[in-house]
Symmetry: C2
Subunit: 168 residues, 2 copies
């Protein structure tokens, strides 16, 4: 049983423990692989409008996501989210649960759509999951991501229109 709740400041060290290996691996997110803990805190907690954590029955954090407007001003009705699941808790549907939660949260916050700007093409599990959850690939950016082992690989722009009716 996974529950999603808002991030609290004292979650940081557990959350950093989950996201640091993902940033260090550098295979899925365009963050510097040597990002400092402070910069990561700014990017994942301070810059977004909200951050959530996925916890199990014991309250252990197994995943996290943020939500923020994808653009300022006349573009701020489309949101952007990022999701990370603990490496040791993959395959339990946590990303799916977080994505569905984020769609409901987006509609509650008044967003009309959700956009991912840089879904790495080699991250096939994520691409498959976002498609299953209603996202379309609306653009392919040639060689947009410098993968540490595959070199320059394409990235997708993915998009889903949101409304009360579209919610999972």
């Amino acid at each position: 049983m996974i529950k999603i709740r808002p991030y609290q400041e004292n979650d940081w060290s557990a959350l950093w423990h989950i996201i640091e290996p993902v940033f260090r691996a550098g295979e899925t997110y365009a963050f510097p692989q040597d990002i400092s803990e402070d910069e990561a805190h700014k990017a994942w907690i301070l810059t977004p409008s909200a951050t959530y954590v996925a916890v199990n029955q014991d309250g252990t954090i197994l995943g996290t996501y943020y939500i923020k407007p994808n653009q300022p001003g006349q573009g701020n009705h489309i949101c952007n989210c990022g999701y990370i699941v603990d490496e040791n808790a993959r395959g339990q549907g946590i990303a799916s649960t977080m994505c569905e939660h984020s769609q409901r949260e987006a509609v509650a916050q008044g967003f009309r759509a959700m956009q991912y700007n840089l879904v790495v093409s080699t991250n096939t599990g994520a691409v498959r999951l976002w498609k299953k959850l209603g996202f379309d690939v609306i653009g392919t950016i040639p060689e947009a991501f410098h993968h540490p082992t595959h070199g320059y690989v394409d990235a997708f722009v993915m998009y889903k229109r949101l409304s009360e009716e579209s919610l999972p």
Copy 2:
């Protein structure tokens, strides 16, 4: 005769005079229409890696552009630029001159491509110009821009691969 030179701190008041009406009109860039001068300075001068101005023979500033990495980390080999021409100096090829300059500058700085994330579909002059200068529409974001008179309109993701050979 238009010359492009790096922005200097004492250019700000002339530059603000040019970009403020464009932000206030809110028809082409996703900046808040009520953006403060400080926020605009941050967005156009401090955040980018470099800002340039286009000047005529008298040294009068008629346009400006910025250049920056479009993404951090593994996405920082693709740059993003924004261009604004003085409302009273349109139709003189200044945007074209700035775009060509920015492509050379991008290659000099080691970027491999240039990407525009939100080209407003109703800004047909810009779309036509970027295509003429070698950019492709690689994605269409449905209703991505809330235009003050046209309502929600599509926006394009545009992209050009850059190399010594591709330069204008």
